[in-house]
Symmetry: D2
Subunit: 343 residues, 4 copies
């Protein structure tokens, strides 16, 4: 019989918090014992997220009111900067899966450069494991603090890491053109996230300066064993969920396809499509699956790699749950096998 | 330990077929043994529905190729008229859940009036049980043939049946204003279902002549013990899933709310909101839940009842699975407790 | 040769302000001399609304910086309460078309009841003409201050005023079920207007207590010559533009259709569809047209009236321009004949 | 005083046909004398496109019934292959603007390669002028047959032609990543154009083999004075209108920006944004404008060029009208200056 682990979700009033609750609702080995959201403390979860009103959940509290006794693991779905401060104040033996950007970057100088302020919990940063499960599985099993990846970063990394490791592409000529749904921008009201500003339109944003570039640099360079810098242009899609990276590389199409296929053989969530097929964001919606495709260009030596996932699931909360399963000794796929929702 | 039942899905290339596969994919007591789709026979299911490509499923066959040996239950997701013909040809001891309109109407003359041709399987029609689970649970447990309800019909029935039974509203002054997502129109290409024709717009269709009126007449009259005719105006929403009925009745708001609350106490999927709150289609998306609300008008004696469900889940395939669970002796909620997907 | 009138737009950073600029951009008899937006003062209009960057427009200023010398007419697209304060401070001979709710209600007590504070410019309120052009054309021609109608109010009024005047419906049994796009909620960031909260979903809001009820009460009672109170339930659509009112009345269908047809014969913007046809919001998008339809219920004596318009055009800024044309002695339809944008 | 030219639209039941009617509706120098649509002959235009029901238009006829007497110019919005056949049968002195792919490619062998059948009107093909107005203005003024460009092709060409002419980029390393709305796929019912298949999702299609590659090859090579082959990956957006090309080139950002700015100085419809800014499809919706942006990559020597237009307007029908104005001796911008519709 499966054991049941008790978890808390800190910062439960955002979309990644709600996605965690949604997934854990039918997880047979996990139970939600506490939910915090400072500005909405005192409210029932049904008031904040009516789609989860059928669940029997604890009321929202402030972080200050949180009792960590009996909690096996805490998910932190807080804004960056806040997250490092809060986690630094938690008991040192409490397992933590962080969904913010705070513990993704190994080099404090890089963190400071991209996030604009010094890191305030350097010891925790040193200890944290980067949460790209399929590439850090063993470290995640043994860690106390797991840092969730950027959602765009994960999408690009899944498409490229095996190719850089296998040496089948030119590391100096990589372009990641990416399109993402708007839920990644969170639930805080912003003009740029309004329906009237997002629907029926498409545009690039943070061109060549998106913060997930820091993760790309760190992980690609590590995989290639040398410095790798890519071009990265994200776009905003008129949809809520889903990221698609269209990656332009130099190499041979079949070798690229083979490298991906071999790297992900046996992986429960990574699906490589037949050679020549392109994936779609709608076909992974609401799921923990990643679909990958490889299509050769008409110009020899050029290849397109496509990688798609749901930013709220595999790109953040599903990934977090997968890592929590590993950290708690539960089966890795537990609570995560639901099929995508289409249409 | 749970037993495993083997099922077939006939007409698996439409949206309700795919929704059945999606739900059964994580159902612990059911296994898909056959999938048919005459025009797509020979294709893999992944070719037809790429979002389900991670599943290990049988190839699509024609109905003629179907071997019913060892099948415990067949879901028929075929067009009406076709359905009665196909089901008439199945072994008489094979349990069947039909998702078409063919076996919903008890009176053959009414069927002929609304569907434009005589019914060709009158014995089956006599035997079929109307699949509105919460109101026909015992009959469904014992039947061999269960007729799925119309998705719009279910939405209206959930809002009104308890009120007519309890006698808390005037049965002669009921207006059902309803709005539905476009997936209810199916996957067959039609001009009216194109993205360019549906998005960014809203309109009424089949005004005062929608076929689900026949179900309303049958079930409301039965519940009230007298003839009841309602006004019914459906509208098409620029979204894929979800139906919301806004029902205008005469009665006292609190009595109406009480009648709904009492009728659905203990029901796992029917959630009555606190008095004065309105539900939203997005908060039941992809789930088997129904959300109901009651708000009094400013004019005394007038009340609005709101009822919302996902047309592909509780409105068809989720309902079908719930009924199949009952017919197979499985727990009624098995495979159906996933929380709604939002956003 | 047409004269050219100089206009100012106060509160130009919202959607109704931008819609005015869009329409006036190709208006042969009007020229924009000033644009104000206190919080965005100093910015170019292209920064605030990039879709209008091809136009040569004045920079945004504060209202305090506005020089009204040489201005023939000011459009006020400010929030209610602010509007009455600002307009009270303008020169008494400056013509004003107000788009806020401030001058719509004749009875100060009614204003205070619905808007929660006493009116601060009672003399202006007394002087203002209600801007439903087709019903107040002569008064508008002669007024100095025209009060734009509520966008939902206009939609309902167009469907019902001729019927109440002609006495062809029962004034005691009117239900207005209405659905509106989200641009009516404005450009200020709010959680409820986010893409992730609006798209792929539908729900009722402000049920039986929407402020446009005050306009319905005032205008319907006036038209009927007796007190008329309607039931009114607005819903939010997952689209930007467009309002559709589905109005349930008691009367004879053909008489209702005839009353509408006769009332709007010769009106350039009001189009009554053939009897039995239903209009769609997408078919008036971006235009100043109103489409109206009448369909009888299957139950004798009951009729559905449909009325649709674009909330930003005929529901606010297009209406404002039409009234401004009248007030300035320009042809009423000038700058307003562009066909709807579909798809 | 402006003269009035009489025009016919052949193939008026598709989206480009309707867009022509929409634009010509307020064109002061053009009048629609005939509308054809073989399968919908006999219907009123209001039945086919209700958004244009306020217009006084001729009924749809078959092409066989078309009387070209008195017609100054015919727009052909027919499917490719059909178009060449129909145009070959028109009087040789009738001016024609063709919106199909039939006369875009100068080399018959290239046409046959990409479209799969030999060209049947080689003399017309020889005579036709490619309709990219800003680059072929003088030829268009004098031609009898103008070939509309592909909508994707136009988007890419506007971003790149001045750069290849000016020699500021490497012609051997050009990647065009493009995203387009679904109206480009037309009004014929197809599974892939259904709302349920398009909304809330994004994917690449026709990767490295889209037919507009033929136009790119022809025009880029001509501009560069040598063979140029680009990589081209189109994607389908969950929106109706708008194309955005994100073009990855090698060069210096400011030189690239300068080349575009200089090339389009004085052009009424081509707007180059300030250096470092990215355009959005929603900001050109429904208009004849093109917005272009240039942003340097963080990697020296790499630049991103963005080009956006509305596929139905500047990408086809607006372009066609602009060319027709030239061919008829009317002012080039007549009927085309309406501002984009946002939101």
């Amino acid at each position: 019989m499966t054991k049941t682990c008790d978890v808390a979700i800190l910062g439960a009033s955002g979309y990644t918090g709600a996605e965690l609750v949604r997934l854990i609702a039918t997880h047979p080995g996990m139970r939600i014992k506490a939910l915090t959201a400072d500005r909405k403390a005192g409210q029932s979860y049904a008031e904040v997220f009516p789609h989860l009103r059928h669940l029997d959940l604890p009321r929202l509290t402030t972080i200050g009111e949180l009792d960590t006794g009996g909690i096996d693991l805490a998910f932190c779905a807080l804004p960056h900067a806040t997250s490092q401060e809060v986690i630094a104040g938690l008991p040192r033996d409490l397992k933590v899966v962080d969904l913010s950007a705070d513990f993704r970057l190994k080099d404090p100088a890089v963190y400071e450069k991209w996030y604009g302020h010094p890191h305030l919990a350097l010891d925790l940063q040193a200890e944290a494991v980067y949460g790209l499960t399929e590439f850090y599985r063993d470290e995640i099993k043994g860690t106390r603090l797991c840092a969730g990846t950027g959602c765009n970063a994960a999408t690009g990394l899944y498409g490229l890491l095996p190719l850089l490791r296998a040496g089948v592409i030119d590391p100096d000529d990589i372009i990641i053109d990416l399109a993402t749904g708007v839920s990644g921008a969170g639930r805080s009201p912003k003009e740029g996230s309004l329906h009237a500003e997002v629907s029926e339109g498409y545009h690039a944003y943070n061109v060549a300066k998106h913060r997930h570039l820091a993760e790309f640099d760190q992980e690609f360079s590590k995989a290639a064993g040398r410095k790798v810098e890519v071009t990265f242009v994200p776009h905003l899609l008129p949809q809520n969920r889903g990221i698609l990276a269209t990656i332009y590389v130099r190499g041979e199409g079949e070798a690229v396809h083979k490298a991906l296929t071999e790297a992900y053989a046996g992986e429960p969530f990574l699906v490589v499509l037949p050679y020549g097929e392109a994936p779609a964001t709608r076909h992974v919606r609401g799921s923990n699956f990643v679909h990958l495709g490889v299509i050769p260009d008409r110009r020899p030596g050029r290849v397109m790699v496509f990688s798609t996932l749901d930013n709220l699931t595999k790109g953040s909360s599903g990934q977090a749950l997968q890592n929590a399963n590993l950290m708690l000794g539960l089966p890795e796929t537990m609570g995560l096998m639901a099929a995508p929702l289409f249409p």
